[in-house]
């Protein structure tokens, strides 16, 4: 067991991947000498060289598109997109090409490309640096999407993504890059495509992922002071979604709250609400309630705290659920 930040855990996971598999390489903007704008790849170029840690031209479509070609030739590219809001020049390659090649080739080709995207707000940044575009990718069949919320998962999920034969997008909660926690480098994390119950409870299930996990846990603690027992689930995988774990929890608690930073409208919360109402309708004591962003471009930093789901908004939703 060692204690490290999420950023360091991803770095260590990448380090282990590069050491163990000569076919892996990192590609992205400023990831070499600088070590990435968040220093997640710090030191890796010095150790593995510029051929394994490739500073690419400044071109997101180019990064993803050439990674696809490298994967077709048997390589395992791990791409970094510098910020959430800048993935869109590469959106075409991700959704029309990367996601579909395996199906179009009737299974004869696989493109196990990994794409790391720092996402989410709360860092006081300017526009296009705080977004949560995960639903836009989750809607596309052929992609897998995971998001770690703690260093242990970050360390292992990074490596597990590389092992997966399908393309995997890792949304990294950038606000939590400096969150510290224990990492067991001997004991792998659970299957990355499953959800985990982080805290048991009886009165309601609170589902969150990535950057909102600390907020969800704090809200559950606050609710406990009021005598309310909230179960907290870390979704971890946004595609596929582990509906079994959620359903089981909702059967027990009878209520479901879903928190994410992305706008509520058309977000993953709606998908989960619909599926759970199909699967556990008779167990539900209240409608599934979503706590998310508003239908607006991510707001300016000075008001982002009002935009982002926080403890109070989660508790307000809990009150509403319990009032049914």
């Amino acid at each position: 067991m060692t204690t490290m930040t999420i950023a360091k855990a991803i770095n260590a996971g990448l380090h282990r991947t590069l050491s163990e598999d000569p076919k892996t390489l990192l590609m992205g903007e400023d990831i070499g000498s600088l070590g990435g704008v968040y220093r997640v790849t710090e030191g890796l170029k010095a150790e593995f060289g510029a051929d394994r840690v490739v500073d690419t031209p400044l071109a997101e479509s180019g990064i993803i598109g050439t990674a696809i070609g490298l994967a077709l030739r048997g390589y395992r590219p791990i791409c970094e997109i510098q910020f959430d809001g800048f993935v869109f020049p590469g959106f075409n390659q991700i959704t029309t090409q990367l996601a579909k090649i395996h199906a179009r080739a009737a299974g004869q080709l696989t493109t196990g490309v990994v794409i790391r995207i720092p996402y989410g707000g709360g860092i006081g940044s300017i526009e296009h640096h705080s977004e949560s575009p995960e639903a836009l990718f989750a809607h596309t069949a052929g992609l897998r999407i995971i998001t770690p919320s703690n260093p242990h998962d970050a360390y292992w999920m990074t490596q597990q993504a590389v092992q997966c034969p399908d393309p995997v997008i890792i949304f990294e909660p950038k606000k939590r890059y400096w969150l510290k926690g224990e990492v067991d480098t001997e004991q792998p994390a659970a299957d990355p495509f499953t959800a985990q119950v982080l805290r048991e409870g009886q009165d309601a299930t609170l589902l969150a992922y990535g950057p909102l996990l600390p907020v969800a846990l704090a809200a559950a603690n606050a609710a406990e002071q009021d005598g309310r027992s909230v179960e907290v689930i870390d979704l971890r995988s946004l595609s596929p979604i582990d509906f079994d774990t959620i359903t089981e929890s909702v059967r027990k608690t009878g209520r479901l709250l879903i928190a994410h930073e992305a706008p509520t409208f058309g977000g993953l919360g709606g998908e989960i609400a619909a599926r759970i109402s199909e699967r556990a309708f008779y167990s539900l004591h209240s409608p599934v309630i979503r706590i998310g962003g508003f239908h607006m471009p991510y707001p300016v930093a000075k008001v982002e705290e009002q935009y982002l789901p926080d403890i109070d908004r989660i508790l307000e939703a809990l009150d509403r659920a319990l009032a049914y």
Partner: protein, 396 residues
């Protein structure tokens, strides 16, 4: 050979205000390039000389020259049959390539089996030179497949319908080849990336050239400038011949007569050799013409004059090579007659194979969405099975 460089001295000599200077340089560059369209086989069937490229064409045996003609003739016959199948409602759509046979056969035949080719959706003749069974090209258009062949079998990738996307895949693949070579894992294959004049405006083409140049990837960009992107003429895509763009990226650009199979073959061999030797990418712009519609869904008479088509018919790549074959005694009437029969046989085989294509079961579409087990796929497939089973029970 590189048509793209404006000699520095001339540029420096240009005077006047900056705008005029730019315009003058622009025109000068275009003129230089247009003077240098590589041609080894003229429309009249006579050979032309070029010190760099003629040796490639002169090394061709009679059998190889006949092979080129055979490739072009069979591809044309196949294309006509596919058009007929579409007209008869057997294909949802067809993308004809009549007129572009020389560009496709010349480049396809210049490639080696270990090279990997990334086509667009119109490279039927290239596919045939790579040994892909032509019927397999039709599964996509009949609606029974998104692909239709195993790309690894002939190192010929699947067709790509999103314009220019494959140019990046080609460069990435070439970067992989480079790594394999460095690790001593492979000989020296090259990668060939096809795209059209319209696609040259897509950002992916730009990004692919930047990546290829930055990493000196062993890739040859092969643009078939067939003058039209559906209804939009080339002048809307570029003010200068595309081959000139290569200079801006820092690699050679060749402009060839795309209806001259010898020139295309020579330029492609030169370029592939350049890439294989580790000297980096090359861009070839093959000037050709799509004689038919963009697809069977459009009507060229709405956007271009028949006189233009007539002009290009005079430069037909097949007639040109036929003249040479006859004049130099490589082939006689018997050869052409036999080939006509072979073409009819091919067409009837293709027709039979297409009509025999079995519609897949939707269940099969669940199979390869992911390589690894995925619960949503399993859930939705189970739902479908149950739903359909319900109909069976009700019917009984």
């Amino acid at each position: 050979m590189s048509t793209a460089h404006l000699p520095r001295t001339e540029a420096e000599q240009l005077s006047g205000n900056p705008a005029q200077r730019v315009e003058a340089r622009h025109q000068q560059g275009a003129e230089d390039a247009s003077r240098e369209v590589l041609q080894l086989l003229a429309p009249d069937g006579g050979r032309r000389q070029n010190s760099t490229f003629s040796p490639f064409a002169e090394a061709l045996s009679s059998a190889q020259l006949r092979q080129f003609y055979r490739d072009m003739a069979l591809a044309r016959r196949f294309d006509q049959e596919a058009t007929a199948l579409q007209r008869q409602g057997e294909l949802a759509m067809w993308v004809p390539m009549v007129g572009q046979e020389a560009a496709q056969v010349g480049s396809g035949r210049a490639s080696r089996p270990e090279d990997y080719l990334f086509p667009t959706y119109r490279e039927h003749a290239v596919a045939m030179t790579r040994g892909v069974n032509p019927s397999q090209l039709l599964g996509l258009f009949r609606g029974v497949s998104h692909g239709g062949w195993d790309p690894r079998q002939n190192n010929f990738h699947l067709y790509t319908l999103v314009l220019a996307a494959q140019t990046l895949h080609a460069v990435g693949y070439a970067m992989g080849v480079q790594r394999d070579r460095a690790a001593g894992l492979t000989e020296s294959p090259a990668v060939l990336a096809y795209f059209g004049d319209g696609s040259s405006s897509e950002g992916d083409v730009h990004e692919s050239m930047v990546f290829a140049a930055s990493f000196q990837a062993p890739v040859v960009f092969f643009c078939q400038n067939n003058r039209w992107a559906i209804s939009v003429p080339f002048s809307v895509q570029s003010r200068v011949p595309l081959a000139q763009r290569a200079a801006g990226y820092g690699f050679p650009g060749l402009r060839v007569d795309g209806n001259d199979v010898l020139a295309v073959y020579a330029a492609s061999q030169w370029a592939l050799e350049h890439a294989r030797s580790g000297a980096g990418p090359v861009l070839i712009e093959a000037e050709t013409y799509r004689l038919g519609a963009h697809t069977t869904a459009d009507d060229p008479s709405k956007y271009r004059g028949s006189d233009e088509e007539e002009q290009w018919r005079l430069r037909d790549p097949l007639l040109r090579l036929e003249t040479l074959l006859r004049a130099e005694g490589h082939a006689d009437d018997a050869f052409f007659d036999d080939l006509g029969q072979e073409g009819d046989q091919l067409a009837s085989d293709v027709r039979r194979e297409v009509l025999a294509m079995v519609n897949p079961d939707l269940r099969a579409s669940f199979a390869n969405v992911y390589a690894q087990q995925h619960p949503l796929i399993a859930e939705e497939l189970a739902w479908l099975e149950e739903y359909e089973a319900g109909f069976v029970t009700e019917g009984e």
